[in-house]
Symmetry: C2
Subunit: 205 residues, 2 copies
């Protein structure tokens, strides 16, 4: 691209370093900012800087938080005996938005992936095992994505906490609510038959 | 979305005000910044602020520039007698990257669009007519997009400068280089037949 302005070029270069944003999209976004009041860019820049510099990680569950202990861990109405293990803070947000879970979370920060060079020591697994050792946790729900890496991570953690005789479960896999059977993949459909649930239970939820 | 952090929520809200970026994409981008060194966010914010606050518009052609007169208008090797009229600075970049044009530009800042409430007075049309009145310009190339608004704008400008007897032209419309005829739309194909060029000329360029 031939830029007539170094300031423009610099802004486009920085924006296009973001994932999934190419030079053309970056140019479009930056020129949009130019047509908006200067305050818009001011607020955007400040919001990003404040977030990046001041956001914390909850020291208990490793969720993103503005305080050393996150709102969920700090909430006395939540049951700290039930821990839902997730990869990412986006999973916490997804589960929270269902309003179906009253326990707490443990955010691993990823899943074991030898290909990407992510070993167990790079994830928050030790801190989870420590929590279990302390005896607070009674039940663990594995809510990792249903991939080879997710299953490996589940199994690795399960092996480490097996001796503590906790209740462990994984979230149910099955046909999405509202989906047509014929379009479901066979693995999901197969699992949803094997793990079928009593009819009385299904009409309650 | 249930945010566990106000700082995160604020950053996501600001990013998602950009066109074509929804909340989910904004969240992905912001969390990406969190995984990168803090300098990345620092550079990004500074680049946007510097751009927004310090960038200028060339007082001659209205192209984006770091100086009061842009690099193109300032370049003594460019011919100021040939003016290429474009909508947007992106069009300047596109034409510059072809390295086929040695004149200067005039950036209108949009095209006449009654539906969007953009009348001629909102565009840099008067300043173009003034330039023509001063007698510097000998040739005008209309390089607006081939839409009803583009054609209207071309015609509006043409009517205003008609009496000065300049050489006027519009960029050629036709089949893209490398394109199959059978997939071309009929208007484009029709125009490319009507405006056919001598074969000797076609093999030179």
């Amino acid at each position: 691209m031939d830029f007539s302005s170094k300031l423009l070029e610099n802004a486009v270069n920085e924006v296009s370093r973001l994932p999934g944003i190419g030079k053309r999209t970056a140019l479009r976004l930056v020129l949009y900012l130019l047509r908006q009041p200067a305050e818009h860019t001011q607020y955007l820049s400040e919001a990003l800087l404040h977030f990046r510099n001041d956001v914390k990680t909850c020291e208990n569950c490793h969720n993103i938080s503005d305080t050393t202990l996150c709102e969920i861990c700090n909430n006395s109405k939540r049951n700290p005996e039930i821990v839902c293990v997730v990869e990412d803070i986006r999973d916490v947000m997804a589960i929270e938005s269902t309003a179906q879970f009253n326990g707490v979370y443990h955010v691993l920060g990823g899943k074991i992936s030898p290909i990407e060079g992510i070993g167990p020591q790079k994830l928050q697994i030790d801190s989870l095992v420590e929590k279990v050792e302390k005896g607070v946790v009674k039940e663990i729900i594995f809510a990792l994505s249903s991939t080879m890496e997710g299953d490996t991570t589940n199994f690795y953690i399960f092996k480490q906490i097996e001796k503590y005789k906790l209740i462990t479960s994984t979230i149910a896999r099955g046909i999405s609510v509202g989906d047509e059977l014929e379009y479901a993949d066979e693995v999901t459909l197969g699992r949803s038959i094997v793990n079928r649930i009593p009819f009385e239970q299904s009409i309650k939820s």
